[in-house]
């Protein structure tokens, strides 16, 4: 049970609004943690705090890097990503006018610290393109490799989004509502996909979600956020039985 990611009393205010209110969590290796909560519970802000895209008002974030937990609070986003914390975005952020292959190439170039290489012909670089092919194979995008992302379906774009997060080979991947905007069939595909990736890779996944079917299908552990606070934390069975959760989440009716 190695802790990979730890927050200590993490807090973020936007003016009057307290988006994240004193969250202390340990994310442990090999466990799929689902962070759930109604809209506005602070899930995306929590991710933004972890990944350095938003600075916390107070509190600390620690990430395991080179074998020990190191504080990463206040580091710029790219350094945090570089130390092994990757994320996907709820609103798809991929390189739309590039092909799927080029998208993954960018991530692999970043993984290999080759971003300042001005002279190599990228398409002829075997080392990088081998890694690209592996990622495409893993995420089942090989047949779409030469397509421009803007021509892909929404579900396929989600897949590219996840591929980018995976391609930099980080120890922890934060998925922000990976099934947002998908129909039930596509959602099911994504769920299977995350489960499969969890088995096939050494990556630890943290998933925010508000689709309960998804959550109970993939979570080893569920953390419930409400108004920026953790109101429940435990295995799916415990959380499902928790009355405060039912109260907060669905106004009393059971999950």
């Amino acid at each position: 049970m190695t802790t990979l990611l730890r927050t200590v009393d993490l807090r973020r205010e936007f003016g009057e609004l307290v988006a994240v209110d004193g969250v202390s969590l340990d994310i442990v290796h090999g466990e799929i943690t689902c962070i759930i909560g109604p809209n506005g519970a602070g899930k995306t802000t929590f991710y933004d705090l972890l990944t350095g895209m938003v600075e916390p008002t107070s509190g600390e974030v620690w990430l395991r890097h080179d074998g020990e937990l190191q504080e990463i609070t206040g580091l710029p986003a790219h350094e945090i990503a570089d130390r092994g914390l990757a994320r996907s975005f709820q609103i798809i952020e991929i390189f739309e006018r590039l092909t799927v292959r080029q998208n993954v190439q960018v991530a692999c170039v970043a993984r290999n610290d080759r971003t300042l290489d001005l002279t190599t012909w990228l398409d002829a670089d075997e080392a990088i393109n081998e890694q690209v092919d592996e990622i495409l194979e893993l995420t089942g995008l090989t047949h779409l490799a030469e397509k421009r992302c803007s021509t892909l379906s929404y579900g396929q774009q989600r897949n590219v989004e996840i591929s980018l997060a995976l391609a930099i080979e980080s120890s922890v991947v934060l998925l922000d509502e990976p099934t947002a905007g998908l129909n039930p069939t596509d959602s099911a595909i994504v769920v299977d996909f995350v489960n499969e990736l969890d088995e096939r890779t050494d990556t630890t996944f943290v998933v925010t979600e508000h689709d309960m079917d998804v959550v109970f299908n993939i979570a080893d552990r569920i953390v419930v956020l409400h108004d920026g606070r953790v109101i429940a934390d435990g295995d799916p069975g415990t959380v499902r039985a928790d009355e405060t959760v039912t109260e907060a989440y669905l106004g009393g009716s059971s999950i």
């Binding site: 006018r97 012909w121 421009r148």
Partner: protein
């Protein structure tokens, strides 16, 4: 990847092994630098296209050949063109480098600089100062070959000076986004303009500018004027060719691909562990470096440098060229520079137009923004596709079918233009604004699929007509 690919990949795969992957070739006039793995285009159902494309390649119409023809044309320019035209073509080559270098930052990184004249002027003044200050000194030491030595020293000093300016200016500028970035770069170039014109240290001769004469080299008893029009043309051809090739390599490098990704989504790139600002800064300096090369060699061509080199109207040249030509094609800005320069030359031949040439530019820009959403380069690509289609029809169904094809496509386009004009009053303004604002917007150069989305229905072949005249001189490669 032989000729019988799926129609969805539209035959573009055919030229991949020859042109894209295995031989990273220089700028390609024939295909307008449109390279890359996914050359898709609208109209996926066109099976004839892949047939035509592979057929044309079988018959030897590869990119290499088109590039070769263009090179041959360039080499023949001093032989076949009158002296003034050689001068004009030399200027075109340098403006093409200027605009393409600017576009490394605009089309390929998503930063619209409105102050690239700064580096153009810095390099120009550096060479002029070197010749004035060091020229006589070196002549005393080296004798006959001193002008050549001075030129070499000036190139080194000029580029060094450009980099020394570009590094801090870029460092401060890339901290800002979008319009603020444009404004701060504009401010730097106008500050340099003010320094040049006020001339506080008595170096640059204020608004008069400085004369720059390269001089004559004595080689083996013969006198060779460095500024000789034909000799200088070949020098510029070599420099411009080398620069274009170097820039082509840069945009296809890992760095160039990361920059294109930054254009698409800086947040995403930063979430992949890449320092976005730092990479924008590096690209800024690279871009300034190549602008410096253009500035270095334009100065001797004009024989004078003036503060106007750093004025905002000079900064507007590559912006206009990139917009006219198409910022998302590698050779788009070069095509735009061609249109810019030759249009001005054409207008200058008619005194009535000459006095108001800016007005005509305005009209051209309006036309481009309204109807050629991705610039003239996209129009040329569409024209190329159309010619391929035509050739395919001719080869499969014969001459009368080909004539029928011309008639039907032209009338389709005419109808499309009429519809477009009908809607322009409302929609045109909006799309024009969109094109300027979304610097990193449109499709990608190595990926004309995006071009086709919008080029095909409206601006596709209706753009062929207006681009036609520009196509002929620039594509002198066509037999």
């Amino acid at each position: 990847m032989s000729g019988d690919d799926e129609p969805t990949t539209d035959g573009s795969r055919d030229d991949e092994p020859t042109a894209d992957r295995s031989t990273p070739d220089g700028p390609d006039p024939g295909a307008l630098g449109v390279a890359g793995p996914a050359v898709e285009r609208a109209g996926h159902g066109h099976e004839r296209l892949s047939f035509t494309r592979s057929r044309l390649i079988e018959e030897g119409w590869t990119r290499e050949r088109l590039l070769g023809l263009f090179v041959v044309w360039c080499l023949l320019v001093p032989v076949v063109l009158p002296s003034f035209q050689v001068y004009l073509f030399t200027e075109f080559l340098l403006l093409a480098v200027f605009a393409t270098a600017f576009n490394l930052l605009y089309g390929y990184t998503g930063l619209l600089s409105f102050g690239h004249a700064l580096f153009y002027a810095a390099a120009g003044y550096a060479i002029a100062l070197t010749f004035r200050e060091l020229g006589p000194e070196l002549a005393g030491v080296l004798g006959g070959i001193s002008p050549l030595a001075t030129l070499l020293v000036a190139v080194v000093l000029g580029l060094a000076f450009t980099l020394v300016i570009a590094a801090p200016v870029g460092y401060l500028s890339v901290r800002l986004d979008e319009i603020y970035f444009a404004l701060i770069t504009l401010s730097f170039s106008m500050a340099f303009y003010a320094v040049l014109i006020q001339d506080p240290y008595g170096l640059t001769q204020g608004s008069d500018g400085m004369l720059l004469l390269l001089g004559t080299v004595e080689l083996f008893g013969a006198d060779v004027a460095l500024a000789d029009r034909n000799l200088y043309y070949y020098l510029v051809l070599a420099v411009a060719g080398g620069s274009m090739y170097a820039m082509w390599r840069v945009i296809n490098s890992p760095f160039g691909t990361v920059c294109r990704a930054i254009r698409e989504s800086p947040d995403r790139v930063s979430a992949l562990g890449v320092n976005v600002t730092y990479h924008q800064w590096v690209m800024f300096v690279v871009s300034a470096f190549f602008v410096g090369i253009a500035g270095l060699f334009i100065a001797p061509l004009h024989s004078i440098v003036t503060p106007a080199m750093s004025f905002w109207t000079t900064s507007a040249i590559p912006v206009v060229a990139a917009v006219i030509g198409g910022a998302f094609y590698f050779l788009g800005p070069a095509v735009g520079a061609f249109v810019f320069l030759y249009l001005r030359w054409g207008l200058s031949r008619y005194p009535a137009f000459e006095a108001h040439w800016e007005l005509f530019y305005g009209l051209v820009l309006i036309l481009v923004l309204l109807y050629f959403k991705e610039g003239a380069a996209a129009g040329l690509v569409a024209l190329g596709h159309w010619l391929e289609d035509l050739y395919g029809v001719y080869r499969t169904d014969g001459r009368s079918a080909a004539i029928e094809f011309v008639r039907s496509t032209l009338s389709e386009k005419a109808a499309a233009v009429r519809r477009e004009v009908g809607r322009t009053s409302v929609r045109g303004r909006r799309s024009a604004r969109g094109q300027v604002a979304t610097a990193g917007g449109g499709s990608d150069s190595t990926d004309p699929g995006g071009g086709s989305d919008s080029t095909d229905p409206g601006s596709g072949s209706d753009s062929t007509d207006p681009t036609d005249p520009t196509d002929r001189p620039s594509g002198g490669d066509r037999p």
